[in-house]
């Protein structure tokens, strides 16, 4: 789950292009570490006179204390409220006056921030990022926390409570993971915990996690490498190093039964959600399940779309995707029924298609088609430097999860190496009937439409 500091206006994810199989994708970079521990990655691309400054802090909702769910994300909001040399409100005002856009987001594993700006404004972004890394607490007070608490509560209302089917995703983490697992609560947190967050929590969280040694700065775009290195050294030189951080040691994430749940919501059409736990990011089996999600629901020829929406026309839509994370990933399958169709009927057809993929390998061409679409996605990522999906963020993401910022080619190879028999083996191993959550979301008062165990 990824949630944002502010509404993404007109954000569209596009899969663009295709990389010829002989072609290697590589994003050349320079990397160094400052004496205070800050990891820095620089990549030069002079296509347009723009730069993206991208900062990752290696802390997310997974590091939260009991009774303080939602705190990492609330803290992300607070980071825009000023620091010792940046009065409240000025962070955004100064950036906008330089022609810059910025945003931040929080997941279970990490928090990231970016400023996309004209190349003449690099120093401004470095000043602001270093000031809030080094000198945040000097300017904060309880009022700042209260203000953003209200904003985040409204974010929760807008993104989950006032959105059809939105409340389901608030329930799923608790059903998927044991109580002491860091993924067993939501990133947005509960209303009670958001109310309980105190100024002291902010101080403790900042002191522990927002230190240079727990962060990584990636700068991509129209830069001069030597001058940018100097500028980074200058602006971050007075940021004090932090203390060592103890690693999270989560208990095993294993579902040992099938949990069946029924939720009522203000919706017209019932929806079935099936969720399984799958291997962590970049671990064996993870790429296979990304490909499986596409084989099942990517495009008109995908197995479930073709069956449920195109041929039988008993579903309005069907989606599958894998949410990949550090300690465990989740594989989501969701299908919305047409009027007069029960979720029991949908589940039966879905189960048949999953079973088929367990016993028979997919066709070679079918898998190749899916792989070609994934290859397209990779070149789309290198078209621009900024935002949540551009090169600057990707370099930081690869660095965090693999240790190698330019992991583009290795990542692509993970998908290319998967064979048709790997696919069936992965479906057998991970999409088990007796280790999953099956959730029926039905219109209020219509529990008879829920999926009943066959």
């Amino acid at each position: 789950m990824k949630i944002y500091r502010s509404v993404l206006v007109g954000a569209v994810l596009l899969l663009i292009g295709f990389v010829a199989s002989a072609q290697e994708i590589t994003v050349p970079y320079e990397q160094f570490t400052l004496p205070n521990g800050l990891n820095v990655i620089l990549h030069k691309d002079n296509t347009v006179p723009r730069i993206s400054v991208n900062m990752w802090y290696h802390v997310g909702s997974g590091s939260e204390k009991p009774g303080r769910t939602g705190f990492a994300h609330l803290f992300e909001h607070i980071l825009f409220e000023g620091s010792q040399h940046v009065p409240e409100g000025k962070f955004d005002q100064w950036l906008e006056a330089a022609g810059a856009d910025n945003n931040g987001s929080t997941t279970e594993d990490r928090t990231n921030y970016y400023e996309d700006l004209p190349s003449n404004a690099l120093d401004l972004a470095l000043f602001l990022e270093s000031d809030r890394m080094g000198f945040l607490l000097q300017s904060l007070n309880a009022g700042t926390v209260d203000g953003q608490r209200d904003v985040v509560k409204n974010e929760r209302r807008q993104s989950y409570e006032n959105r059809p089917y939105g409340k389901a995703s608030l329930e799923l983490p608790g059903l998927l993971y044991p109580k002491d697992h860091p993924y067993s609560w939501t990133v947005i947190g509960s209303m009670e915990d958001l109310s309980a967050a105190s100024y002291q929590d902010v101080v403790d969280f900042f002191s522990m996690y927002y230190a240079p040694g727990n962060a990584s700065l990636s700068i991509a775009g129209d830069i001069d490498l030597a001058a940018t290195r100097k500028a980074v050294e200058k602006w971050f030189s007075d940021v004090p190093a932090g203390k060592p951080i103890s690693k999270i040691n989560p208990p095993a994430a294993v579902l040992t039964e099938e949990k069946r749940v029924v939720m009522e919501d203000k919706v017209q059409l019932p929806r079935l959600m099936m969720v399984w736990l799958t291997p962590p990011s970049f671990q064996p089996g993870n790429a296979e399940m990304d490909l499986v999600s596409n084989l099942l629901t990517g495009g008109k020829n995908s197995r479930l779309y073709k069956k449920l929406v195109y041929e039988l026309q008993i579903a309005q839509n069907v989606f599958a995707y894998q949410d990949s994370k550090k300690f465990s990933s989740e594989f989501y399958l969701s299908a919305t029924a047409r009027p007069g169709v029960t979720l029991t009927q949908l589940e039966k057809v879905i189960q048949e298609e999953i079973d088929k993929l367990k016993t028979e390998n997919p066709q070679e061409r079918e898998l190749q088609r899916v792989k070609n679409q994934f290859e397209s996605g990779f070149i789309g990522q290198i078209e621009s430097a900024g935002g949540f999906s551009g090169k600057a963020n990707q370099l930081n993401q690869y660095y965090y999860y693999t240790g190698n910022p330019d992991y583009f080619n290795e990542d692509l190879q993970r998908y290319k190496a998967v064979s048709i028999s790997d696919i069936s083996a992965a479906v057998r191993l991970y999409l088990k009937d007796n280790a999953r959550v099956v959730m029926s979301i039905v219109p209020e008062g219509k529990t008879d439409l829920a999926a009943k165990k066959n």
Binding site: I16, G17, P49, A97, N154, P339, E383
Partner: protein, 476 residues
């Protein structure tokens, strides 16, 4: 000795600077680089189909968009949604390919082809690796020139759309937008109309064929190409696949100019149990060709067009009523709407509405220099961000065609935007932000918000049900 001492001091001062950056003021910035885009190349194919090309060789990709200057506002009365379903059906079978075969071929190439309609235009967009451009254009031209409009596919999409209508009854944002548009525009114009059960049930195969035959002609179309090709390399491919595109011209009916809002009226659409109220406030704005365009853009940036704008600062940062608030002008070929919007927590709906009007009033008072500079620079200096990807450049080139802007427009934009001054922005606010003449739509829990709205005494309050807005629920 003097010389040496100075030298040492210099070293020391450098070392000190490196140790302790000056944080007392934000760093002064060097002058921004000028935006200098590659040339816009214009030519026509042998059949007269116009082509607009911009080369971009940084990644081995090409974007090829066919722009058709007919959109949903041209749908015949009673056939609302026709252009949308017709465009959607283009790739549901064409030439010798079935719908499934087409999807398979396109995906196998790693290309993307999508076809859709907007309010004034329709498009078939293709993105492909330059090495697969021939194959991708072959499929694209088949879709464009020989759509099958098979009955079975029409019936399938018809059902999808009818069920989509049903889902709208839970979507507060959709309900708010539809209520706002249908109340803002007279029913004698197409601007407030939407596909409905009756119109969706009415489309016939011949409607689709007529839409296609009438609008897909050279005089109503432009090919827009951006990416890793040159005029020389791409022209033979375009001739190969698009020279049989029909020559011809059409004239779409003139679009009536919308009537301005008179007085202030509130419409509350009851959505019991809603956790938030969705707000839309607005009136008729202006057209893209308005000579004051840059002033209006900067004025709106200050009011509600960016994160640090006044509306977002007030409703989100100062009051905590909302996750975000903003405003925008839809610049059409004719005057389009100005809309301010937000989702606010139910129990503060009244006060939140009041804050919108406080900001509207404040916008009409003298403008502080700091706000002017921020708005102006955000627009001008951020402009280059529109030209990073092939698809965003293609969208900018489409604007050039639709609004008949000069070729020098992009490269001269920054200078023009930086020339915006206080007087111009203040005049734009006075002219377009008129709080006494506004339409207000709120979708929320009437029982909990009515009293708070009444207290504001903004104007007459009317109450609507969701079915008043969307019509009777379709029986499926």
């Amino acid at each position: 000795m003097k010389k040496l001492i100075i030298f040492c001091l210099l070293l020391a001062s450098i070392a000190v600077t490196a140790q302790n950056p000056d944080r007392s003021t934000p760093p002064a910035l060097a002058k921004a680089k000028n935006l200098q885009l590659p040339a816009i190349q214009k030519f026509t194919l042998s059949n007269g189909l116009p082509v607009v090309l911009m080369e971009k060789h940084s990644v081995p990709l090409v974007q090829v968009n066919l722009l058709i200057q007919t959109g949903s506002f041209d749908d015949p009365a009673g056939k609302e949604g026709l252009s949308s379903i017709a465009m959607d059906l283009l790739d549901e079978g064409a030439g010798d390919y079935t719908a499934l075969q087409l999807a398979d071929e396109i995906e196998f190439l790693g290309a993307q082809i999508s076809s859709f309609s907007r309010s004034f235009t329709s498009e078939v967009d293709c993105s492909a690796p330059v090495s697969r451009l021939d194959g991708a254009l072959k499929l694209m031209s088949t879709i464009v020139l020989k759509p099958s409009f098979a009955d079975a596919e029409l019936e399938r999409l018809r059902k999808l759309r009818l069920n989509g209508l049903l889902q709208n009854y839970d979507e507060a944002n959709v309900i708010a937008q539809r209520a706002f548009n249908s109340l803002l525009f007279s029913s004698s114009t197409p601007y407030g109309k939407f596909a409905n059960e009756q119109s969706i049930r009415s489309y016939s195969k011949s409607d689709l064929e007529s839409f296609h035959t009438r609008n897909f002609v050279t005089g109503n179309s432009t090919l827009i190409i951006v990416g890793d090709v040159t005029k020389e390399s791409v022209t033979p491919l375009l001739e190969k696949y698009f020279s049989s595109y029909p020559a011809g011209a059409i004239t779409n009916a003139a679009k009536p100019v919308p009537q301005q809002v008179k007085g202030r009226t509130i419409y509350v659409v009851d959505k019991p149990g809603a956790a938030q109220s969705v707000i839309r406030i607005g009136r008729i704005g202006t057209s893209r060709g308005d000579a004051e365009f840059n002033n209006i853009v900067v004025m709106n940036t200050i009011l509600g067009g960016s994160f640090a704008s006044r509306l977002n600062t007030n409703l989100r940062e100062e009051h905590g009523y909302s996750y975000g608030a903003g405003s925008g002008f839809s610049f059409w070929t004719i005057p389009g709407p100005f809309t301010a919007s937000s989702s606010v927590q139910t129990d503060v709906t009244g006060p939140a509405l009041g804050e919108f009007f406080n900001e509207f009033k404040k916008m009409r008072s003298p403008l502080p220099e700091e706000d002017l500079n921020r708005g102006k620079n955000y627009d001008a200096l951020g402009y280059a961000g529109n030209f990073e990807t092939n698809s965003s450049i293609a969208a900018a080139l489409a604007d050039l065609v639709i609004y008949q802007l000069p070729d020098a427009y992009f490269n001269s934009y920054v200078e023009k935007a930086l020339a915006v001054n206080k007087k111009g922005v203040e005049a734009a606010a006075k002219k377009y932000i008129v709080p006494d003449n506004m339409l207000i739509v709120v979708v929320g829990d009437r029982a909990k918000i009515e009293e708070g709205i009444r207290k504001l005494k903004l104007g007459k309050i009317n109450f609507l049900s969701i079915e008043d807005v969307l019509g009777k629920k379709p029986q499926l």
